[in-house]
Amino acid sequence: MGEIFVLVEHRQGKIRDVTFEMLTKGNELARKTNANLTAVLLGHSNIKDFPKTLSEYAKKVLVVDDAKLENFNSDAYQKVLESLIGKYKPLLTLIGHTSLGVDLAPTLSVSLKMPLATDCIDLEFENDVLSVTRQMYGGKVNARAILRKSESYIVTIRPGSLKAIKPQSPMNGDVIEIRSPLTEEITYKRVIKYVQPQPSGVDIASAELLIGIGRGIGGAQNIPIFEELAKTLNGLLACSRPIVDKGWLPSDRQVGMSGKTVKPKLYIAFGISGAFQHVLGMKNSELIIAINKDPEAPIFKFADYRVVEDLFKIAPLLKSKIYEQKTQKT
């Protein structure tokens, strides 16, 4: 019987959501391909409780506990996975398309000569052919692609793109401790420390109303228009990555994968195209209104209301109308 591997991703004592998303998909694929679902856990301290949780989701849990795996180092992970994949020969290894997976999967696939598809939002086996769905051009287009035929594949999965469902009855997977194949510390590449984000006075995650701005606002000189609108609504100004990259707003305003996750009552997106890194951080807002001049902007796929219009015709007018109403009331 074949195996499907899911690499467990965890950080600072917590299993990350993408792990359960991959285990859920892995379970479905394992049933279809008549394979065993195996969770692969690498780490050292803070992982004691993980095997129990993982055994509810997988038929087998392989644990490699080694002080040299304390902090994620792609080279250490690669050596361990080369050994495990060599031994168990899984049909498929799923890894998160996260900062961990991006650092690990490409080198692992080259060293094992196993076809790799990255950043996939879905995958399936059809007559022995592995086909994947992934996005291109910042989420504007989906592509369906097939992998070159092989006995073993590696696929990285975009976080938040698959559902995580706890099995109705726990799978009671066997927990198997594997001796670490690492013989020495990796000296040419070392993680020195983590740097936490700077605490700041602005907390967009606790705001009830957010005005989100993106590349479409054109330039830093236009920011006051949206800042005033946010103020008039008693909300805060937030943004997508390009605005921070360009230095137009500080990073504490950034919504998305590398910024904050927000769930306000209202999110109005101005000139945000809607790359998944951003969408992941705001798609659970209670009400989303998106304004963009591109009628096909990906942000509209996640919005409740869609406005295809020049944002500079909407934002100032919206601000003055709301202001008018507020002053009339008082």
């Binding site: 902090n71 792609s74 996260t98 900062s99 991006v102 650092d103 490409p106 080198t107 696939s109 080259v110 790799l116 950043d119 086909s131 994947v132 996005q135 291109m136 051009y137 910042g138 504007k140 287009v141 989906n142 592509a143 369906r144 692609a145 097939i146 992998l147 070159r148 000296t187 040419y188 590449k189 070392r190 020195i192 983590y194 740097v195 984000p197 609504l233 990555r241 390009p242 921070v244 360009k246 230095g247 990073s251 994968m257 590398s258 209202l266 009628p295 096909e296 509209f300 796929k301 996640f302 919005a303 409740d304 209301y305 869609r306 406005v307 219009e309 015709k313 909407i314 007018l317 109308k321």
Partner: protein, 263 residues
Amino acid sequence: MLDIIVCIKQVLDTAEAELKIDSSGKAIETCGLVFDIGEWDDYALEEAVRIKEKTGGTVTVITVGSEEAERTLRKCLARGADKAIKIVDKRLKGLDGYATAKILHKIIKSMHFDLILTGAQASDDEYAVVGPMLAELLGLPHVTMVKKIELKDRLAIVNRELEGGLEEIVEVKLPAVLTIQTGINEPRYVSLLGVKKAAQKEIKALGLADIGLSENEVGETSSWIKIEKIFVPPAEKEVKTITGSPEEIVTRIIEILKTKGLI
């Protein structure tokens, strides 16, 4: 003194464009779009030039597979690169990240360098694999998604971006491959002087034979992943479109906000 190689991809600038799928169903319509250096690669180039300005050395830009790469490479030279190499061949089509990494490896392995920089991902297919794959083929260490680089003797101390604003500091021995995340610097504009200087600089064009590769080593057959079709992503939610004049749109938005008790 550091010799730096920057691997770039020329891509269609689609950041603010409306895309259409072409008649093959496998690619987008290129008509009306302009080619440019990929967004992530743009930051990688800038970082290389800044390091050179500080420590001395050279910056060599390499690109694979774009026939029309001349203008983009010229722009890289104007921005401060010293040399540019393009690997051009009609058969270089439909390459995935792995096939690209193999070609880059073939040419780079005989060059002298201390550091290789490239974008964390291409802005079009977004595979995010070429940098680390190239490192593996060259037998060198790599660090992906780099937000800051500090160089000390033969070490690079870099900040690597994790999720949620968290970063890790990684120390890596040179030579190494670093993939650059956006926002690491502010890419400069091309100066008139830069353009003048760039006109004198050399762009070397190499074919497959020049780098010792045969056709089946580089064609679609050398790729791991092949696109079957592309399509418009389905919507996750049912969206209501608000139309009308700006006044009508704004009135409708205010109505919605009122109904929801938001104003």
